[in-house]
Symmetry: C2
Subunit: 219 residues, 2 copies
């Protein structure tokens, strides 16, 4: 059987950023500031990929924290920024993640991750969550200095695993990630966790009808 590679997204796909909500309530006075923050990080990442600038995901995360604080008329203390950063790398994995990865590994899939974060951050996250042994290589967009869902990161991943994009299947809870992956020629699987929804619109639909799978997780 030809070797098959499954490439995981990590934030929200392998662990739930809702684990940051209590700290968000403590710092911002609102749990929902955490979701606003991640939306803002993503907007900064997409914008920078579009206009051709690049700062690493941690820098964008901090810029977004300052924006979420400014919306509330606050400025963040260094101590709070440090606590949030420490919390992010110690989030538990989704309860179904370990068993799912184990099953895929037993079925002889080669597993890897492709992340917008820096490799240093995700290595700590995977170690803490006990998921490091499943992945043979960690691929960060830092290598190409352009964020997903730009096409370069997907092509970079294919090149690093030594296969055409058509032999990679990207797994994510993010509609935009699935769209980018398929536009780059990858297969993809959308994981329908919680509030994450795949677009039925033609922008993604035109790709999805060719190659997409849909997985419903237990939560």
């Amino acid at each position: 059987m030809p070797e098959r590679v499954i490439v995981f997204d990590v934030n929200e796909t392998l662990w739930d950023l809702a684990g940051l909500d209590p700290l968000s309530t403590h710092v911002f006075g609102a749990a929902r500031a955490r979701a606003e923050w991640f939306e803002q990080v993503l907007n900064l990442a997409l914008t920078s990929a579009l206009v051709g600038t690049f700062d690493d995901f941690t820098s964008l995360g901090n810029a977004a924290l300052a924006m979420v604080a400014a919306k509330r008329g606050m400025s963040l203390k260094e101590e709070h920024i440090a606590r949030i950063a420490a919390h992010i790398v110690h989030l538990p994995a989704h309860p179904d993640a370990h068993a799912a990865l184990e099953r895929l590994q037993r079925a002889d899939f080669r597993l890897t991750v492709l992340i917008n974060s820096t490799a240093a951050v995700v290595e700590t996250q995977l170690d803490h969550a006990g998921l490091t042994p499943f992945f043979d290589v960690i691929l960060s967009v830092d290598a190409v200095k352009r964020f997903k869902p730009a096409l370069e990161p997907y092509r970079f991943a294919a090149s690093r695993v030594g296969m055409p994009t058509s032999r990679l299947r990207m797994v994510a809870v993010h509609n935009w990630h699935i769209t980018g992956a398929m536009a780059a020629g990858c297969k993809a699987a959308f994981v329908a966790r919680g509030r994450h929804i795949q677009s039925a619109g033609s922008t993604t639909g035109r790709h999805r009808t060719h190659a997409g799978s849909r997985c419903r997780s237990n939560r």
Copy 2:
């Protein structure tokens, strides 16, 4: 004095989408679904600009409505979609918009708009809000089939008004719009309305320090 052109963003910059909140409460049971919806539209627009697909902004708006509904386990009725579309084109302008445009026009600025929406939608919006007489041309990204903040729409605007991008000043409440405008070589002015915040991060900061202005509106 050389002719100077000011190019306005419209949604949220000239009128407040919060005017949709009561309808959002009626349809989705939550006023905040409206803000979620606009975030989702924007995410679809940025994603499509990044991966190189294009559907007009109205199509993305409808796809995003379906996603916001699906998050809530609902499917939208045709009647609701039609009511939302009708409401969008009949939003009142921000209370300060008319006087501000009048002042700029008297000061001999040439005023135009550059929109992600279709021209048909914004023409109805401007007519209803009584702002049509201020603008000499309406520029929609439909002409270049790539959404702001990709650089093409800004270059297209410069070409259509017959000037280099450096002679255009883009006005918007959106951080991403300011970032794109400056990356394309335009000047820009960020309007700090309500919950809109400009990034102090380096991604936008590197542009802002050269050319940006900051306006604080009355609301």
